[in-house]
Symmetry: C2
Subunit: 211 residues, 2 copies
């Protein structure tokens, strides 16, 4: 894995993983790039190219073993390692996240939520406790957590990101409407919902223009 893998490839990996999971559930134990291509609506060539960034998982004349490929992609994605997470913001979105990732998603365990409103402390969401934000640093000193989801408005997210990285957080799943400025060794994965909705809006306009 010496060569730098392009972002486009990485973005597609979880989708392969999802389809392979579905195949497993269907009891299918082997699949060719062409058949997968038909299901996923991408070219067979792209599937083979993407996978070969990480190794030759297939076999000529046979295709890919579903269970094996599923495991391999899982490993590449770091699934099954058990990653502790915290969620900043116990509002609707924070609660949705705290419930969502438990939906069977592998290895990601939400250990706690933090909220600026101290009145929420004592409650729990999906069996994860809610603490006041003031206890953030103390908590991180005593618990092995690398990932934090930021589910608070942009007015406070920049400040909180600073506190998180200062306290040792290595990856931020950012739902706030702001591009976070973090040290080089910290990863940020953005989910800008309103930008996604605007994209939908653009396409809606553009499509209706066609008629």
């Amino acid at each position: 894995m010496a060569e730098k893998i392009s972002g486009a490839v990485i973005t597609r990996l979880p989708r392969y993983y999802r389809y392979l999971g579905e195949l497993l559930e269907e009891g299918i134990d082997r699949i060719s790039s062409r058949e997968l291509s038909g299901r996923m609506k991408v070219t067979a060539s792209q599937i083979r190219q993407d996978l070969n960034n990480f190794g030759g998982f297939g076999q000529q004349g046979y295709g890919y073993n579903v269970a094996n490929l599923y495991d391999e992609i899982g490993k590449i994605l770091g699934i099954g390692l058990t990653q502790n997470m915290i969620v900043i913001g116990a509002g609707h979105l924070g609660q949705a996240i705290a419930n969502y990732t438990n939906y069977g998603k592998r290895g990601f365990v939400i250990k706690a939520l933090f909220d600026i409103n101290p009145d929420l402390a004592g409650y729990s969401v999906n069996s994860a406790p809610v603490y006041p934000l003031s206890k953030l640093e103390d908590y991180l000193k005593e618990n092995d957590v690398k990932i934090a989801a930021i589910c608070i408005p942009k007015t406070h997210s920049g400040e909180v990101a600073k506190r998180l990285t200062a306290a040792g957080i290595k990856a931020i799943w950012n739902f706030s409407h702001l591009d976070l400025d973090v040290p080089d060794d910290v990863i940020v994965e953005n989910v800008h919902l309103s930008e996604s909705l605007m994209k939908l809006s653009y396409k809606l306009n553009y499509e209706s223009e066609k008629k």
Copy 2:
């Protein structure tokens, strides 16, 4: 706008819009592509190329008028047109969405939520009523709604998507863990949260490998 605009460009538009909004708030009334480049961490050239897909909004020796460019991009994105929306699923995520888009986001008005659990009917979220899912078709017959957000598990989202498009919905904001199969003239914008988290996980592994 005869030429087909690439997906990459469209994805970047909302981000330009966001930064221009910030500039407006800061009271800055003109900006060059180079200055914006510094803020957004993209090349000035890309900014100019992107904008010129839609027209020459700038002026040599001056740059871009912030208010004007903000408006123009807003128009391109269809902002301010007032789009009615419904949300399928009144769980945590559906409620988060119903609250979220109201956060000042322009023109998108959530008129109602629908849930398979009829006991939720009668409640309201952010002043939008919750109806039983069985009333979906009746509701869409009597209300002008083009956009639906799907916030239910994949076990039911395929079926619901069929009902939505049959009832005239033109765009689906899909939060379910499934690629929806819809007619050609219907737009789908996916938000696959667990795939986003896996991407983060990949990067976390990859980064730590570097050390």
